[in-house]
Every structure is written in structure tokens, then in C-alpha cells.
């Protein structure tokens, strides 16, 4: 079988054992976040689709504009947790085990506080309208509900990584689990910001 050469040739490539670029696990989490981010993009697009098709007001008659204060506090808490998570990640990158454990713990607590507020918010809002009231209700509850589910998964991930951190599983050079959990957590934070802007801020424009 003769070779019909196409691409250029080179000298023998060398094999180095020091990893330089992103690892398999990192890529795996990136792709998972990409697909879940698409899910939320589609949900929010559906929200705006229905909204721009609705010629009467938005929110529809009988439903007040979403109250800002609690949602703002929630979003601020979660955003803060994002920064705390970043500090924890930076900490382990420099080999600081305590920073990691404390940071993970604080992130977890902030996330838990968010969840508590979210539940309170849901209960309060449900007095005014429910998913069964109309499409607005269905969309709002589905979007925030989907976010809460993702947040709970994030809390479980944080707990797992926290547990491993207690047993000193991570070092400055090897902490892929922390990176992956952090990436997922940032995603959860960003989605909340997008939800806050879309569902709470834009109806007031």
C-alpha cells in the first residue's frame, strides 16, 4: 500500500509527563455545565417568548410586579458565595488546606441560606399565584425550581468535596475535584444572576 502523503511531516514528537493543559475531568465538567447552561437559556428564552407574545401587561393581570428586596438579597448572598468559593480554590492552589476547608464550608452555608430564602420566597409568592394560575406562574416556578434543584446538587457536591478535603485529599498540584465543584458552583451563581435580571428586573423596564 503506497502512501499518498498529505499533511506535513515532522521529527519524532517527544513525550513529556508533565500535564500542561486542562484535564479530562475539567473538560467533562465544562461540557456538563454547557449542557445545563443551555437548559437554562432555553427556559429563559421560553419565558421571553411567552412574554413578548402577550399583548396585555406583564406580569399578566392580577399579578403584581415581582418584589425585589428578597430576591436581591438572595442573589447577593449567592454571588458572595461565588467569591468565597474562588478564595477557597485560590487557597488550595497555594496549598492552604485551612483556606480550602473554611472556604468550602462558608460557601455551603451561604448556599444553604440562599435555599432557605428561596423556599420562603416560593411560599410567599404562592399566596399570590401558583404554577396552575397561568403560564406566567408556570414559567416562574419552573425556572426557579429548576435552579433550586441544580443548587441542591451543588450543595451535595460541596459536601462531598468538603469531606474529601478533611482527609487532606487535595494538594496544591492536584485538586481537580475542587476545580470541578467550583466550576459547577459558579454556574449555579451565574444562572441565579440571569434569573434575577430576567424575572425580577426586566419586567420593571
Amino acid at each position: 500500500m503506497t502512501t499518498v502523503a498529505y499533511a506535513r511531516r515532522t521529527t519524532e514528537p517527544t513525550v513529556e509527563a508533565a500535564p500542561r493543559s486542562a484535564s479530562n475531568g475539567w473538560w467533562g465538567m465544562v461540557l456538563f455545565v454547557a449542557t445545563e447552561a443551555t437548559l437554562f437559556t432555553v427556559l429563559l428564552a421560553s419565558y421571553f417568548y411567552i412574554r413578548f407574545k402577550t399583548s396585555s401587561g406583564w406580569p399578566p393581570d392580577g399579578i403584581a410586579d415581582p418584589k425585589l428586596l428578597r430576591a436581591l438579597v438572595m442573589t447577593a448572598l449567592l454571588t458572595a458565595s461565588g467569591f468565597v468559593m474562588y478564595a477557597a480554590e485560590t487557597g488550595i492552589r497555594r496549598g492552604r488546606q485551612r483556606a480550602l476547608v473554611l472556604g468550602l464550608g462558608a460557601t455551603f452555608l451561604l448556599g444553604l441560606a440562599f435555599l432557605g430564602l428561596q423556599i420562603w420566597e416560593t411560599v410567599v409568592v404562592a399566596r399570590e399565584f401558583t404554577p396552575r394560575t397561568d403560564t406566567y406562574g408556570s414559567l416562574v416556578f419552573t425556572i426557579t425550581g429548576a435552579h433550586s434543584v441544580h443548587l441542591v446538587v451543588g450543595l451535595l457536591l460541596l459536601a462531598w468535596v468538603q469531606g474529601r478535603a478533611w482527609f487532606r485529599a487535595y494538594t496544591a498540584g492536584r485538586h481537580l475535584g475542587v476545580q470541578m465543584a467550583a466550576m459547577y458552583w459558579y454556574f449555579v451563581v451565574v444562572v441565579q444572576v440571569a434569573i434575577f435580571v430576567s424575572l425580577y428586573l426586566t419586567p420593571r423596564i
Binding site: 500500500m1 503506497t2 502512501t3 499518498v4 502523503a5 498529505y6 499533511a7 511531516r9 515532522t10 519524532e12 514528537p13 517527544t14 513525550v15 513529556e16 509527563a17 508533565a18 500535564p19 500542561r20 493543559s21 484535564s23 479530562n24 475531568g25 473538560w27 467533562g28 461540557l31 456538563f32 454547557a34 449542557t35 445545563e36 443551555t38 437548559l39 437559556t41 432555553v42 427556559l43 421560553s46 417568548y49 411567552i50 407574545k53 402577550t54 399578566p60 404554577p131 396552575r132 397561568d134 403560564t135 406566567y136 406562574g137 408556570s138 414559567l139 416556578f141 419552573t142 451535595l156 462531598w160 474529601r164 485529599a169 487535595y170 492536584r174 485538586h175 481537580l176 475535584g177
Partner: protein, 627 residues
Amino acid sequence: MEAHVERLEKVWAEPAGIVSFLTSVDHKRIGIRYLFTAFAFFIAAGIEAMVMRAQLARPGERLVSPETYDQLFSLHGTTMIFLFVTPMLSGFGNYCVPLMIGARDMAFPRLNALSYWVFLSSGLFIYASVPFGLAPNDGWFNYVPLSDKVFTPDKNIDFYTLGLIFITISTTAGAANFIVTIFKLRAPGMSINRMPLFCWAVLATSFAVIFALPSLTVANTMLELERNWGFHFFQPAHGGDPLLWQHLFWIFGHPDVYIIFLPAIGIVSSVVPVFSRRSIVGYEWLALATVLTGIVGFGVWVHHMFATGLPQISMTFFSAASFMIVIPSGIQIFAWLATMLTGRPVLKTPFLYVLGFVVVFVIGGLTGVMFAAVPFDQQATDSYFVVAHFHYVLFGGAVFPIFAGIHYWFPKMSGRMYHELAGQVSFWLVFVGFNLTFFPMHISGLLGMPRRVYTYPGGLGWDAYNLLSTIGSGVLAAGILVIALNVLWSLRRGPPALSDPWGGNTLEWSTSSPPPHFNFPVIPIVRSADPNWDVEDRRQDALRLERGELLLADGHQTLATTVLEGEAEDELHMPSESVWPFVLALSLSVVFFGLLMKLYGVAILGCILVAGAIAGWHRPQRELQDQ
């Protein structure tokens, strides 16, 4: 040298028996399982089609009731798309991609096993509806309001929505696995422009899966909530819009046809150079066309909605994109033809099926371009003309390449040769049978026959065409039967195959037929896009085996390389057998069963089992890298 190989064999050995069957993570075993399971669903969907054709052979036939007919066409479409073509091509991907890139397994071997078990579970989930007469019955795209509770009160649609959400887990996991494998596990020297076109196809497909499937999941979730929990998304009386379903479905649904088409043309790009005995013409053009098709495929979805009363100005975006998407496909056809015409073709079965693909797909593409024009679409949509169109592009574009792939890789997978004459007979039966079945539908469609009708009155000029189609379906079925018999017979009695019976240009042909569990004794070093034709490089591999270089025999190991240039970076440790993928798939089945039966306690129990399975899966193991 023998000592090195022995060491690898010991490390990678998998015991025989049921435990190994349930715990294997070997991509080759999983790939073959995908192929057999998907083919079984193909037969099921084919039988559904045969019953439909029997029902339509004559006007006023009473073989099946309208209700049964609805289930037949819905299940046929759903099965073919979700349970046959996509998994079948996943099977080829699973088997071939690691071999083609010179790796020892996929990037996430246990996730790979999970993808298979979830596929099997979700397929069984959907088909569990059949004995109860509750198969999905509102078409494979399941439009509201027909699929709303008020018009389809029974569980038919819940089997559909939950079953598809279930299988999405498998497909998405598989896509992530392929992307990371192709990005990171290629052999040293295999830069992105030297990677086989089949891998480009799987890469583009996998990205399409990542971005398209969520839309289907959102749609199905919304429908489930609307049907069973009193939510409102698609009901105008409650501020909703039935077109929202159509948008969400087709934002997934159109990319889905490219998710089907792209790996299939990857098979074509594999077969053409080998059977033309020359390097592929226009590698860059083919790679680019693959990527462009995958991307532009996301921008044409509204062409499935041209008859829904949308504003003219918005439809033009999608009409324009629907015309333009033909261009990359056209370029590919010309590249393959140029390769064949400037090469020295070998007319064996795989090549015949590729020729069949070219003819049938091009015809389908021509009618597709017709549909890109809004005025024509509005006349011909939902008629048998569109049924003809999509069978020409789907069968031509995917099934012919699948049949080519079956014959092409059969020797590699089984270590035996199939019967060539039987292969050729199967091709002619399939080709003639296919055209006899589907060509007349163009005519009956233009004569006004609507799709999805369980019968039709005589005297409208449709009778002869329907009868021809039914006869054709028999011929087609015979051809498929020959393929199945050929495979089964040759598995037992076929003559032993060489490691490289075809003179292949890609790396899977450089190892034995079938390959050892560890694929390659040493990781190959690649210096061109046709590595198996670089005889000197393959000789160097053998020399490195003697020296024990790039042996990577300290456990299940393979090499990680950089994304663009394919520079070797790291030696990875891969997981070996694990029961957790199987357990996780079972746990997920419990969840979906609970949701289907509205036994929410069961669903919650299932979620706990899922969490437990994930925890067990990630229990830290000493020999693995921090994954």
C-alpha cells in the same frame, strides 16, 4: 517483546461470565452491544413499518384500527430516530474512535458503560408501553394540543416524554465522553488536522448533542408538568402558546437530523479512501463542511413550521439558512466523488452501500432544497412528499452508511470475514427495495395524499403507488434479512480475517482482528492523516514495543495529548471493571418508573438510590488519578 504484551494482557484481561458482562467498561464490548441492541430496535421499528405498509396496500383496508395505526407510526418514528440510528452510530463511534486515535479506551470508560445501560433501560421503558396498548400515539414530534391531557388522557405520552428525558441522559453523557476522548486522547503527533474524518464527524455531532438535547428536555418537562401537575405552557386560554412546543421541539429536532447524518458521513469518509485506494480528496473541505453542517443545522428549525402562520419576514432567515446548508453537503459529495474518480475503486459491499448512499441522499437533498422554499413547503408539507423526502435523506444519509459500516468493520470486530456475495445481494435488494418503497411516495404526495392517515379512499389515483410501496417494503425487508443472516452466519462460519483485510488507512487496521483488550501494545506515533499507510511509522511502533517505549502497562493506562497539536502530555490511569454504571442505570429506571406511575415515593427512593450509586462510583480508589 512477548513479556511486554503479556503484561498488558494480564492488566487488561476481563474474566468471562455474567459479572464481566455487567461490569465491563471496554469500549469495544460496549460498542458491539450498542450495535446489536440498536439493530434489534431497528427490526422492531421495521415490523411497525411493515404493518403500516400492509394496512396501506389497498384503499379501505381494515388490518389495524386507527388508534393502533397512530401508535404504529409514532413508535416507528421514535424508535428509528432515538433507539436505532443514533445509538447505532454511537456504537460505531464507541468502537472505532479510540482505535482510530490510537488510544486504549474512551476518556470516561465507566460513563461509557452507563450510556449503554441507560440506552437499554430507556428503550425497554418506552417499549414497556406496547403490551398495554399505551405506546406513544401522537407522532414522533408529539404536537400539543393533541398530546395534552385533554386529548390524550392515557399514559401514552408520558411514556414518550419520560422515556425521551431518560435516553437524553445516555446521549448527553456519550457526547461529553466523545468530545473529551477526541480532544485529549489522540496519539502523539495526531494534530487536529490529521485526525480521521470519522472523528471530526463524531466531534461535531457531540457538540450538537450538548446544545440541542436540552431543548427537548425542556419541552418534555413542560409537557409532563402540564399533563400531570396542572401547569400551563402551551394553552392559549392560560396565556400559553402551542407553538412554544413546536419551537422547543424543532430547536432540538432539526439539529437531531444532523446528529444522525454527521456520524454516518463520517463512515462514508472512512470507506471512500480505502475502497478508492487513495487518500481522501479535500480533507480540509470535508472537515469544514462537517463543522458547518453541525452549526448551521441549529439555524433552520423554523422550516418545520412554515405552515403555522408565522410572519413572512421571520421565515426568511430560516429559508435562507435552509438553502445554504446544502452547500457544505454538496462540497462533501464532490470531494467523495473526486476521490472515487481519481482512485481505483474496489466494488465490494461497503463501497456499494456508499454508492447507494450517494444516489439516495442526493435525491433526498434535492427534495429538501425544494422544501426550503416557503411557498412549495406550504403546499407539500404533511403530505407523502415530505415522507418521501425525509426517508431519502435519513435512510440514504444514515442507513446506507450504517450498512456500509457493518460490512466494513465486521472483520475487525469479529475476526472473521462476512460472505461477500451475500453482501452484494443484500445491497441490491436494499437499494431496489428502498427506491420501490419510497419513490412512489413523491408522486402520491404531490397528488395530495396526506401523511399519518390509516387508510384512504380508492379512486384518488393513489392506489397503485401505495401498492408499489408495499411491495417495495417487502423487497427491502428481504435485503435487511440477508444482512442479518450474513452477520449471524459469518460470526460462526466466516473465514478468519486479517488485521487489515481492506488496506485501511486508519489506525484500527494496524492492530489485530479483533483487537486485544488493550487495543495497541504501544501507543502509536502519528505523522500524517493516513497513519496506517505510513509503513515506516508502523514499523517504528513495533521497534518501540521491543524497547518498551510508550508501553504504559502499569495498570489501565493511556496517553493524554493536547487538543490542537496532539503533543503528549500525561499518562492517564483509567478505571477498570465497575458495577456502578449498571446500578446507576437501574436506579434511574426506578426514578422514571415512579414518575410514570405517579408513585412519587418510589421516585424519591429512586433519587436516593441514584445518589448512592454516584457516591459508590466516586469512592476514591488508590490506583486512579484524582478524577
